[in-house]
Amino acid sequence: MKRFLPFLCCLFLLAGCAAPASSAEPEQAQFFSMDTVMSIRVYSGGGLDAIQAARQEIEGLDKLLSRTDPDSQISALNSHAGDGLQVSLDAEVANLLSFAKSVSQLLPGCFDVTIAPVMDAWGFTTQERHIPSADTLSAAMALVDSNGLIVDEQASSARLERAGMEVDLGAVAKGFAAGQADAVLRQQGVTSALLDLGGNVTVIGAKPDGTAWQVAVKDPQNTSEALCVLSLEDQTASTSGGYERYFEENGQIYHHIIDPKTGYPADSGLLSVTVISADHMLADALSTALFVAGPDAALDFWRSREDIELVLCTQDNRVIVTEGLEAGYRPAGEDRGYTYEIARR
């Protein structure tokens, strides 16, 4: 027994200096904001207080940015469309508007922050969804022009040039909110967390065990299945697809991502686009724009810059994954007839 004593002592000593077991159960909250369901899960650092702070940040932004809330700054901007008044805004709102405009310039014809009248014509915002009459649609299309949105970042104000024009930040607000919430959580000491803002997934740090977060991309044709699974750290994965909000009329499916060139749901050969970037806002905005742009334009755009990676699911059942994701991704839909390819620069 004497011989074993040192070993036993060692065991207890070792047990003493081991890291505290990481709590497997995260602190979490689920809530509705920005017209979608959001959830925040914090795995280490911070805790419920941090989640509350992040939630308040997001709900505060929703109050500023919502087009349906008559007291929001965006509603103020829209209601003064065409009357020449330069509406003063919070600095962050002005920055967001000018960012949204810059995306229109990055991908001309694929993204327009003033698409709202057309969305309304289709009934995607509040009313029953329906095919608009040709007259309604062309009247609405005449109001779409992001050049008519004048933003003065210095004075932190903006105006819309023509009456009837409306701004809708739906395609960038969740990404912006993710960026702000990310900052709040980190300030509160959070080192490992997962934010799901209506399908926009933002991850902070790595999992508590040090490995990367595993984020599945939804199969657009079978939304209960995964298309592929990605390994992410400190990034946002944002997906746009026509499968989530849509309606059927006369046997035809009409989805909610409108092509600003035609005023009709985008038909670019893509079923979904997932953009992965450390820039949360960029990921959100580009997923919509690249869905409209189509697979070839999306890949050309990807080759032109270093800060994004893509997963494209095409109508002919190809899944194109850009090479920056290759190491950490695994396909999950081969049995459903998808073929996977890696896009190179």
Binding site: R3, F7, C10, L11, L14, A15, A18, A19
Partner: protein
């Protein structure tokens, strides 16, 4: 050299060997070929078999404990220690028993040892996680232990016969 010093030295050398083997094994994990949690060749088990055959059960146990403790200091955490200790101890116990039976060769002993090691690991995982979920990995691990056990068994036959009496000058 005095008897106890010799014993200490050879235990130390075997411990170092076992450690080196398990580190070497970690460099080229089998799980790359075959993604099954907990799957490994179990080369360090060679040393346990050897110590059981050529030294004594007590020394085999000491070497095993030292290897697990040092191994967790080198790279692992307390969880890994729990896994390797339970697995190692169970394997040691089973092999010590089987070595006393007539009729078996080191192939059978090693296969049983590998199977016992995997069982111990899964039991430890179940205890640590508090759910029976890891049990689903056991059947495939047991099947794999036929192969890994046979490989280490073959190797241990070579070892035991080539190095019959350790530490003799």
């Amino acid at each position: 050299m005095s008897v106890s010093l010799r014993r200490l030295t050879r235990s130390a050398v075997l411990t170092a060997l076992a450690l080196a083997l398990s580190v070497a094994e970690g460099l080229a994990p089998l799980t790359i070929l075959f993604p099954l949690p907990g799957l490994r060749l179990g080369l360090a088990n060679l040393v346990t078999v050897y110590a059981l055959c050529r030294l004594s059960g007590r020394e085999a146990l000491l070497i095993l404990l030292a290897r697990c403790l040092l191994g967790s200091l080198l790279g692992g955490n307390l969880m890994a220690l729990a896994f390797s200790l339970t697995g190692g101890l169970l394997a040691l116990g089973v092999m010590a028993l089987l070595l006393r039976l007539p009729g078996l060769s080191l192939f059978g002993v090693s296969i049983a040892g590998a199977a016992a090691h995997n069982t111990g690991q899964i039991l430890a995982a179940m205890a640590v996680l508090g759910t029976p979920a890891p049990l689903v990995y056991l059947p495939p691990l047991l099947v794999c232990s036929l192969v890994t056990g046979a490989v280490t068994g073959g190797a241990s036959i070579l070892l035991v016969h080539r190095v019959p009496f350790p530490g003799r000058p």
